[in-house]
């Protein structure tokens, strides 16, 4: 199954040749195998993408190459041939001459991957110093040059700054600078852009690709996003549960996925699939009172004062929208666009600086006490991170019935019955009631969070990036579930997302936000086909997978 590769097209010797690699982690519950007998090649100057969901072992495989495994991880078997070395058995001291010098690493999360107490320039210079590529004297200037090459604007200024003074995108450029500083032959990029905004993602990936094409550096790209892999990689390696299930040229795999898992992954990739059928938007009755109506909403935050006197940040700037019962309005934008603040305002979790919020016809802009509490009952929230939003000490039953207890709805028995019914709704077995959040997977937890949000039969549920922490196949299931529940209960969703591809699957109306303002509104079909605002076009272009041949019609492109 795995040997679809090398149809006589690549005869070059691989730069990196992994054979029979097995890695396991020691845990309290015994030894857990993470990678089982993986074979993988990276050819010089090529991009090879390893795709799979969390737990597939893709990241472990990448880290095992330079033996940067967690303390409890060990390589049990296999060889990692790189040049004339077998990295799996090389001594620690020899390995250090490979790390950073011949193999660079671009880590997953730029916000935590730089040492917070050291200046950017110092951190780049360190690579050069370790490998004797610069002297103490020449290192600072060379670091600036490398930062410049990594595409960091004002490199000389940035070099003197600390990581927290830079945006996520700039930090990722600094990390790329660290990876390319010693001009390595291979760069391992572990989900290099998953923590970044889509438009930034694209620029960073473009730059990384450009740099490596220029210098002939190969990339081992680890990603959960099939769209990203399709855009960037010449070769694709699909992993599932520690094994390689399919490998070969990207075009071939996308056009003709052999393995059932690859097909499933392709089907659920939001960026590669067309819109799925939504709940038909029942046109709101004429003169029907909208569920939520927001008029000229403004929210300002005070910033620390500077010499020029007090500063204010306008996080939400003259925002107006209407949401009808049974419909989904998506607020789309990048981090800092004000979408989350808008949702918090609508839920009365924070006070508006100006403007009005009407909920079911009543002005709730300044509602307090009993009226605000009544609103809590009718408007619920689903958070982004299901790993943090469930109290780890509660049983699932307690989690789901908490809103009922808070509003003193029913007695113990009827609350439990309601919890069971809700679990059934979100397709979890009744036995889940007794379990703890830690025992559930991310997707299961988000289902529990949905059940909790629906416990009081609210009219409105605000979904704050509800699927962005989940694997793609799970994402699709959760989105389907949300749509199904909407069809059944007529609940309205205010859906916040940075991901246009996800929004397309669920929203009836989309509002694109930028710097606190709504720049464009409309049904998703119109927005996707005739974007009017330049920013919307930019967002659309940034969706990964856009350059990939579509899975259905690619036969002709393979020959090009």
């Amino acid at each position: 199954m795995t040997d679809e590769r090398e149809n006589g097209e690549d005869v070059t010797t691989p730069l990196l040749e992994i054979r029979g690699l097995s890695v396991s982690y020691r845990t309290r519950g015994g030894t857990v195998p993470a990678v089982r007998g993986v074979d993988l090649d990276v050819l010089p100057g090529q991009v090879t993408a390893v795709v799979g969901e969390s737990g597939s072992g893709k990241s472990t495989t990448a880290h095992a190459v330079t033996r940067l495994l967690a303390a409890n991880g060990t390589i049990d078997a296999g060889t990692v041939r790189f040049g004339r070395h077998d990295l799996a058995t090389l001594s620690e001291a020899e390995l250090r001459t490979v790390r950073g010098a011949r193999i660079g690493l671009v880590p997953q999360d730029p916000t935590v991957s730089l040492n917070p107490v050291k200046r950017i320039g110092e951190q780049v210079a360190e690579v050069l110093r370790i490998h004797g590529l610069a002297t103490r004297r020449s290192a600072p200037a060379e670091a600036v040059a490398v930062l410049d090459r990594a595409g960091l604007p004002d490199a000389a200024v940035r070099a003197r700054q600390y990581p927290h003074e830079l945006s996520g995108g700039m930090r990722q450029r600094a990390l790329i600078a660290i990876a390319i500083a010693a001009k390595p032959e291979l760069i391992i990029a572990d989900e290099p852009t998953s923590a970044l905004d889509v438009t930034v993602q694209r620029v960073i990936l473009d730059h990384l690709q450009h740099l490596t094409e220029e210098s002939g550096t190969a990339i081992l790209l680890v990603t959960h996003d099939l769209g990203v892999a399709a855009d960037r990689a010449q070769r694709l390696v699909v992993m599932e549960q520690g094994r390689v299930v399919e490998a070969g040229p990207t075009r071939d795999i996308l056009a003709d996925p052999r393995h059932e898992y690859t097909r499933r992954l392709l089907a659920s990739a939001p960026s590669l699939t067309a819109a799925r059928p939504r709940t038909p938007a029942s046109a709101p009755k004429a003169n029907a009172v909208p569920l939520v109506e927001v008029r000229h909403l403004v929210k300002e935050f005070r910033l620390p004062r500077t010499e020029d006197g007090p500063q204010v940040l306008r996080a939400v700037d003259d925002v107006s929208f209407t949401l009808h019962r049974g419909q989904t309005l998506a607020l789309v934008g990048e981090s800092g666009s004000g979408k989350s603040t808008t949702a918090r305002l609508a839920l009365r979790l924070t006070d508006a600086s100006a403007g009005h919020i009407l909920f079911d016809g009543t002005d709730i802009t300044t509602a307090r006490g009993a009226r605000a509490r009544e609103l809590r009952r009718r408007a619920q929230l689903i958070y982004q991170n299901p790993y943090a939003s469930l109290d780890p000490r509660f049983s699932i039953g307690e989690v789901i019935t908490e809103p009922l207890r808070a509003f003193k709805v029913g007695d113990r028995a009827s609350r439990l019955a309601r919890a069971r019914e809700l679990l059934d709704r979100v397709a979890l077995p009744a036995a889940t009631l007794e379990r703890r959040p830690a025992e559930l997977s991310g997707g299961q937890r988000q289902r529990v969070a949905i059940a909790r949000a629906l416990a009081l039969s609210p009219d409105l549920v605000v979904c704050d990036e509800p699927v962005s922490a989940l694997d793609v196949s799970v994402q699709a299931q959760v989105l389907d579930l949300l749509a199904e529940l909407q069809a059944d209960t007529g609940v309205a969703y205010l859906f916040i997302s940075h991901d246009l591809a996800v929004v397309r699957q669920i929203a009836h109306q989309v509002a694109v936000m930028r710097s606190g303002r709504i720049v464009e509104t409309g049904p998703p079909e119109d927005l996707f086909t005739h974007p009017r605002h330049a920013y919307t076009r930019e967002l659309l272009a940034a969706i990964p997978g856009g350059r990939a041949p579509s899975p259905t019609a690619t036969v002709e492109s393979t020959t090009s």
Partner: protein, 319 residues
């Protein structure tokens, strides 16, 4: 920055006032009074002329109502006058000033030892790849925290003075005399530093930036000292600030065990005879040192971690 320091100084005045007031109240609740204690200690027989005692009480103001006494003492304390020691008749400030150098030597040496030993232990314990050594080293701090100071002192004296004759068992003479008392005082303090630093080092070593450093090809020692240690030092620094108070308190026991002159002995003696002015002076002085150290620690934070901004406006809002 300047506003921040001014605000902190105002807070410090509040703390000093509170320390003064609480100690005043506590001492007032104790049975008896200093005049009786002094009279009893100074004379062999129990017959003391009641008239003389009353005169003494009047002289020191102990016959006034408690609030009046408080106002009186506080008013003078604000001007830096803590009155005269009841037992010796010398001014409290000069009594403390005479004892201070000895105690500063002791606590300073102890603090240095605590940081070096505790910090060193934490660094080595988290660096070593020998499991047994790590376990052994990490089990020392809890032991150091839990054994009583006086017992450690007696043990050290027994071994290093009486058996090995390396260091004198008591007295104030020079550096050699300082070793055992400073070590005694440093053990529980250093143990706490070690515990906190080891814990935060382990946390720091788990961070993503450590992986970045390793991926650069940095050796373990470089990763440990240049990347993890500085990030881990903040919690340890906080603890050191708090431990300065403990060191001053510990000097009472240590100076007694080793018969050293110093602030601790003065305190112990003053408490025994209920010499309220002296005890008050010690309390306020101790609070002063504590507040000053912690202000210093807060001002050092931003030097170690650039993310910490010493700001007077804490309402910097979330965006």
């Amino acid at each position: 920055m300047r506003r921040y320091v001014i605000k902190r100084l105002a807070q410090a005045v509040g703390v000093l006032w509170a320390a003064y007031t609480v100690s005043f109240l506590v001492l007032d609740f104790l049975p008896g009074d200093p005049v009786t204690a002094m009279a009893g200690a100074g004379m062999d027989s129990g017959d003391v002329d009641p008239a003389r005692l009353a005169a003494l009480r009047h002289e020191y103001g102990f016959d006034k109502p408690i609030l009046a006494q408080y106002a009186d003492y506080l008013g003078r304390a604000v001007r830096g006058d803590f009155g005269d020691a009841v037992s010796t008749g010398r001014p409290v400030t000069s009594t403390l000033a005479d004892a201070l150098p000895q105690t500063l030597q002791l606590t300073g040496a102890a603090l240095l030892l605590a940081v070096l030993l505790g910090g060193g232990l934490a660094v080595v314990a988290t660096y070593t790849s020998q499991r047994w050594l790590r376990q052994l080293l990490l089990s020392l701090p809890p032991l150091g925290v839990s054994v009583p100071t006086f017992w450690v002192g007696l043990l050290l004296v027994e071994v290093f003075s009486f058996r090995l004759h390396w260091f004198p068992a008591f007295g104030n003479d020079g550096l050699r005399g300082l070793v055992l008392p400073a070590l005694t005082l440093a053990i529980p303090t250093g143990a706490l530093v070690a515990q906190v630093l080891a814990k935060s080092l382990l946390t720091a070593l788990d961070q993503a930036y450590v992986e970045t450093a390793r991926a650069k090809g940095a050796g373990r020692w470089r990763v440990h000292l240049r990347h993890a240690l500085r990030n881990a030092s903040l919690p340890a620094l906080t603890v050191v600030g708090l431990l300065v108070g403990q060191l001053i308190a510990g000097s009472v026991v240590v100076e007694t065990v080793f018969s050293r002159d110093g602030l601790g002995r003065v305190t112990a003696a003053a408490v025994t005879v209920q010499d309220i002015p002296v005890v008050q002076g010690v309390v306020v002085f101790g609070a002063l040192i504590f507040v000053a150290t912690n202000l210093l620690v807060d001002l050092v934070y931003p030097l170690l971690d650039p993310r910490i901004v010493v700001a007077s406006d804490r309402r910097a809002s979330f965006v």
